[in-house]
Structures are given as C-alpha cells and as structure tokens.
Amino acid sequence: MLAPYMPIVLLFALAFAFALFSVAIAPFTGPRRFNRAKLDFYECGIEPTPTPIGPNRFPIKYFLTAMLFIVFDIEIIFLYPYAVANKELSLFGLIEMLLFIGTVFIAYAYVWRRGGLDWD
C-alpha cells in the first residue's frame, strides 16, 4: 500500500542530498576575504536604518491575507472530494454544493464590503 510513496521518498532523498551538498560546499569553494562592510545588511549602499531589537515587524495587512487564504483553502478542500465524487452524488451533491458555495459567498461578500480585500 505504501509502495507508490517509495519513489517520492527516494526523490526527496536525492533532492535533499543535492541541495544540502551544494549549500554546504559553497563556503569551501568560494574565496573568503573579510570585510566588515560586507556583513552589514544591504540597503543600496546608504547607511543602514537601525532596526528594532527582536523579531522583525510587518504590516498587519499580510496577516489578514493569510486568514482569508485559510478560509478559501478550506473551501477548496471541501470542494475536491465533492468534485471527484460528482458523478455518484449527482443532483443531491450538486444542490448541497450550491448551498455550500452560496454560504461561503455570503462571507466573501461581507469581507469585500468591509474592505478586507482592498490593498492600499
């Protein structure tokens, strides 16, 4: 039963080995010339802006996008099994799915109306 997964594991091993080898060997193949200025982070050559201590901060907007993504991704997850079993479920499945998509559409319209999809 797990036989079809075997090639995926092997490909993973090969790809991982390749990537790890490449990344690990790079410091040895390349030159090493120390220069303090190189280690600064890059801001087009101007004096770098001092950053706050601790984790980087980012606009809350991205968080909202991530939440919306989860909503729609779960909708997709419900859609796929229905899509595959579409023939067997026939009219019953169709009506159920129309109701489901309609419900999600209401939430979608609400988010749209409240400006959750706008990006300024």
Binding site: M6, R33, L39, F69, D73, V84, S90, W112, L117, W119
Partner: protein
Amino acid sequence: MSLAASDVVPGFGDQPFWLIVIKVLGVFVFLVVMTLFSIVFERKVVGRMQNRIGPNRVGPWGTLQSLADGMKLAFKEEIIPLLADKPVYFLAPLLSAVPAFLAFSVMPFGPEVSMFGHHTPLQLTDLPVGVLVVFACSSLGVYGIVLSGWASGSTYPLLGGLRSAAQMISYEVAMGLSIAGVFIWSGTMSTSQIVAGQDHRWYVTSPLIVSFCIYCIAIVGETNRAPFDLPEAESELVGGFHTEYSSFKFAMFFLAEYINMVTVSALATTLFLGGWHAPWPIHYIWAGCNSGWYPMIWFVLKVVAIIFVFVWLRGTLPRMRYDQFMHLGWKVLIPINLAWIMLIATVHVLRSRGWASWQVAVTVVIPTAAVLLIWAIAGEAKRHQNYVAAAEEEEAEARLGPAFPTPPLNLVVPKAPAVARASRARASLPRAARRASVSQQGDDDE
C-alpha cells in the same frame, strides 16, 4: 469511484527498486536540464524581443551560458549578514529547492513503455490524489521564501518575502479553484488517469477553457514571474527575498524558481492540454505517435510552449501595481472561478441525466457566461468612471494652484560680485581687447 476502490493507481503498485532508482535519476536530470535550458531560452527569447542577440559566447550559440553561470556561482564568496538568523538562513534555500523537485514526482511523461524488459508507465509514481502532491509541494515552497526573507534580518528581503508569500497564497486559491473544475470533469485526482481521460478530446476544448485561462493567470502569480514579479520588483525591493543570499544558496533559489515554472507548465499540460497525447492532427497522419517513447516529445514540446508564453509575457507586459494585483486575484479570479465551478458541476450532472449538449449550452452555459461577462464589463466600466472622476478632481485641484505657501518660482540666482565686476569691465573694453582677454583665460572658453 477510484478513491474508494483502491489506494493504488494501477501500474504503480509493484515497481522493482532498480526501476524506481532509474526513474528518480531521470526526473532529477530532466529537471536540472530543463532549468538550464529555460534560463538560456528565456534570455535568448527576451533578447530577440528586445532586438538583441542574447547570450552567444559560451558553448554553441550560447547554449551553455546558464551552466557557466552556475559554475561561477559555486566559486563566489558566501556572505552571511551579521544580523541573519543563522539556522533559518541556512535552511531556507533547502526548503525552497527540495519541494520544487518533489512536485514533479507525479507528472506523467508518457504511456507504458518497455524498460529493460519491464513494462512500466513513463511516470515516477502516481497516487489517487496525485495532483494534491503537486499542490502540497508548491505550498511548501512558500515557507522557503518567507523564511529566507525573515531570516536575512534586513528590510528589503523581509518585505519581499512577505509580498511573495501573500502573493503566492492569494493566487494559490485561484489556482486550486480552477483545478477543481478538472476533477469534476474527469472524476479523479490521479494525474495518469486525468491524462487517460483526455484520450480523444483535450479538456481545454470543453467548458474548462475558462478554468484553463484562470489557471494560466494564476500560475504566473504563483511563480512570481513578470508581470506579477512584485516580490523582486527591482526598483522597489532590490532583489526581494534573496537580496542577502549569495553563492550556491542564491543558486538554490534560482533553481527552485525555474523548476517551479517547469512544474506549473507541466501541470497545465497534464490537466488541460492532453498531457503526453500528440496534438490534434498528428494522430491521423501517424498512428504510432501515442505509443512507446514518442509521447515524451509531445509532453516536452507542450511544456516548452508554455514556458515560451511565460517569457513572452515577461518581454511584453509592464509590472503591475500591488493593489491592482491583489484586486485581480481576490475580486476577479475567485468569484469567476466559483461561479464557473458551479456551472461545470451543473453541466456535468445534467449531462449524466441524459441532457443533450445543446440543451445544456442553451439553458446553462450561455446565460451564465453572459451574466459573468456583463458583470465583468460593468465592473470595468465603473472602475474607469472612478478613474476619470479622480483624474478630473486632481486636475481641478491643480488649476487652483498649490494649496501650500510656495516661494516664487521665477527667481534667478544673482552673479557673485567678483564675476559681475569682471564681466562689466570686459563689456566696457573695445572689441579687439575683449577677444584678447577671453583667449587669455584659457582653452575652456574657446
């Protein structure tokens, strides 16, 4: 119902180990070669589009250019910024590259062939949920990008990584929804069976054409390519999430980007363009075109054709603004997609209940398409109106003049006293003396 029937797609249950090893190596080499090829291909094609020749020095017609670039990257110094989060910084390129390779494990290259006396499909493996593997791997790629941006400890990569993540997940929704239509039509998620279902007719020639168009738009956003290459918008974010990466770590991101491009092209081929089946008229001329190793040619040709479209887009279209881009993803592609999935499901059910194609077309497809079209045109008209109104307002404001105190703009800087005195004295001299005094000042004035 394939899901309940068995957990194994026929043909993939009992492959001998040596065969798996050969196939794994084959897929790996194929991907690396396709990456090297795509980079040169892109540079050549973009060059021609911009009236240049493109790379032509390394190897015959410059074909080895990307290989040379890769070698060069290996001998470049690796710089790790002081503020970088070392373990994550190290892990991010791996997280980007490895899933990119894995996504290709379920792509069907061709039908059953004979390999050293063993009959086996020209495909690494297949699962009843094959397409989901591709999908899962492309989602994992987001981690590599967002973590690389975060771990660099720098502003540009952070913003680039976040943008990229937001963009990829936004367009993944559109991509996932467009694929759902294919599952309805084919009744399976296994890639080999989807291709088998397109034996006589490619899915792109059915109502799935709308899904195909949306998929094509979504994959450009998903792979961060122009005109949606906002994460690496050079004029804004330098290089985006990989600004702080150098040497082979940078090469890993580059590799992942191009492999992802090949993967989404291959998925488009598999789902909509008939997979490894020969293009339409060839089937009549040459009976053997769909058996043996030949289908691999059709598969690669189709993939390259889609990559060409990618390059074409890059050579033609300017970059979109981020708000326009998000507008397109969330407010245009998703509603059209949802409506079209409902339509496809309705059509499929009606067909299975014995309706004729023309009845379905008249009662369902044409009205829905008309409504969607009117909605899209009306939305565009409204946006245009808003745009015109905003422009008029701006113009009216400009006519009123600046709203803040500005200094007079016609001021002339007076000459320095010494210069003024000298020029006055020169003007009072007779003409011959003036010329002499000018030539004395040196050659610059001549």
